[in-house]
């Protein structure tokens, strides 16, 4: 059964978003996404300073089984990326909401988060 933390926001391409105290937004892939992919062996991240449009490709997550794009759920400038995840991609399987965050953006407009799915809505979306 997929874990879906209540305090996060979600999009239907299976990324989660967390609004931090400093106004930046941390983004990763959901537990459901890692379950679908299976053992993750490579992760590609955007670069700090990249200006991402909403729904733009921001990276790649590759498992033994398949490769999948990671999208920027909201527009913004990349302010941090998780280099530790590049060295230990298996973290995305074991700690999808913790150590395996992908990147952090300074949102162009933080209010768009309000329109994204809640945990409850995401649970319904993936049928759990």
């Amino acid at each position: 059964m997929s874990h879906i933390p209540a305090e996060l926001k979600y999009v239907n391409s299976h990324e989660w978003l967390r609004l931090e105290a400093d106004g930046t937004v941390t983004i990763g892939i959901t537990d459901h996404a890692q379950e679908l992919l299976g053992d993750i062996v490579f992760v590609e991240l955007p670069q700090v300073g990249d200006e991402l449009a909403a729904d733009a490709t921001a990276g790649v997550v590759e498992s033994v089984k398949a490769a999948s794009d990671v999208y920027a759920p909201i527009a913004g400038e990349v302010v941090a990326v998780n280099e530790a995840l590049v060295d230990a991609p298996e973290l995305a399987n074991t700690e999808p909401y913790g150590a395996a965050w992908f990147f952090r953006v300074k949102p162009a407009d933080a209010s768009v988060l309000d329109g994204l799915m809640t945990a409850e809505q995401y649970a319904k979306e993936i049928g759990v």
């Binding site: 299976g38 062996v41 490579f42 033994v64 089984k65 398949a66 490769a67 298996e90």
Partner: protein
């Protein structure tokens, strides 16, 4: 089509398997982590439910003549009882209907064919058998468990009938026998599909779950089809429907060594087509590909060989043993085993090395 289950279906659920449809069978893809399962087979012992594969017994006064006509490899090579032979079964056009293993037994021959091709195989064999005094017995009542890894045989010996232990330890590679009365259904062979030592054990369906449980109790881990695929790919072994099928010649699929050209007077199905192909010059060949950098080679990706032409990846994956990607590809015959070729990896042309397979044997890297 309804999905079929093996006699070990409940055992898989009890082991938290993720079940998927494979060739019409509900089978375990993994029991948590495909990478861990792969590692267990390379370093210790794991077991696979391969009961979806189809066992046939071939008997009758003309069983040998029938198989010498049916198969591209020659069962005449099976000089002593128990010996096994890997062969392609070909169309008259010289393409691959299936790949299989056939054992010489005291009552005739035993054959194991792929799950997804079993129905068409049986139909084809029955059609070809019409002119021979031969009977085909499909042994659907048998289950099959493959136990593979450096500790596989020692661990299996802890749970089998103690009178059988010496005979199991004495098995040569690619040899198998019925154990106990044939009608009881037990058959143990030192064969597999992983590049490791191990056994494939056929047994009555109603004894399969208890035997599986006994194997678990001596520390043999259940392994899913996901790891089965990465293990066989590292071992450079073909998978039917991916690396070859009815559109592909065995000569273009790395199966040239399985064609018994001698004796020249043996007529087998596909021989004339293969001889014509060989005389004209075989256009394609199978090679291994290695990508030491980031990214994973995948089935269907195009392989560009500078100055020669194009090929295609027929199986590709991340190699858990080597920690980088490996693939099997079909490329123009002029491609050299030392070439660097290019693969379009999600929009990026990436240099990839051509190597001679296999990639891994007995837990170790073997290509240069």
């Amino acid at each position: 089509m309804t999905t079929k289950t093996t006699p070990l279906y409940e055992s898989h659920l009890a082991a938290n398997a993720k079940m998927v449809d494979f060739a019409g069978w509900l089978m375990p893809i993994h029991y948590g982590s495909q990478l861990k399962e792969h590692e267990i087979v390379r370093t210790d012992a794991g077991m696979f439910d391969v009961s979806h594969m189809c066992v046939l017994d071939i008997v009758g006064s003309e069983a040998k003549a029938f198989l010498r006509f049916l198969l591209a490899n020659d069962v005449e090579k099976l000089s002593t009882e128990g010996k096994a032979l890997y062969s392609g079964m070909l169309t008259p056009e010289g393409t691959v209907i299936d790949d299989l293993i056939v054992y010489l037994t005291h009552y005739g021959y035993r054959m194991v064919v792929n799950a997804g091709t079993a129905d068409k195989d049986i139909a084809w064999m029955l059609k070809q058998a019409a002119n021979f005094d031969v009977q085909l017995h499909v042994r659907r009542e048998l289950a099959m468990i493959a136990i593979q890894g450096p500790n596989a045989i020692a661990k299996v010996c802890k749970v089998i009938h103690e009178d059988w232990e010496d005979a199991v330890n004495a098995l040569n590679v690619f040899q198998g026998f019925p154990f106990g009365p044939v009608e009881d259904g037990w058959f143990i062979a030192r064969t597999g599909y992983t590049g490791e030592d191990g056994l494939e054990i056929m047994l009555p369906s109603d004894e399969a779950a208890a035997f599986w449980q006994a194997l678990l109790s001596v520390g043999i881990a259940p392994i899913g089809l996901g790891a089965r695929d990465t293990l066989r790919l590292e071992a450079g072994m073909n998978l039917y429907g991916h690396d070859m099928d009815e559109t592909i010649s065995p000569l273009a699929a790395g199966m040239g060594w399985t064609i018994a050209w001698q004796p020249a007077e043996r007529d087998f199905i596909g021989r004339a087509a293969l001889e014509a192909e060989r005389a004209a010059g075989v256009a394609l060949k199978q090679v291994g590909l290695v990508l030491e950098g980031r990214g994973v080679l995948r089935e269907g990706q195009i392989v560009a060989v500078a100055g020669v032409g194009q090929g295609v990846i027929t199986s590709g994956t991340f190699s858990p043993t080597l920690k980088h990607s490996v693939a099997i590809a079909r490329v123009p015959a002029a491609t050299k085993d030392t070439d660097t070729v290019q693969v379009d990896l999600r929009g990026t042309l990436t240099d990839v090395r051509v190597v001679k397979m296999p990639f891994v044997r007995n837990g170790k890297k073997v290509f240069a």
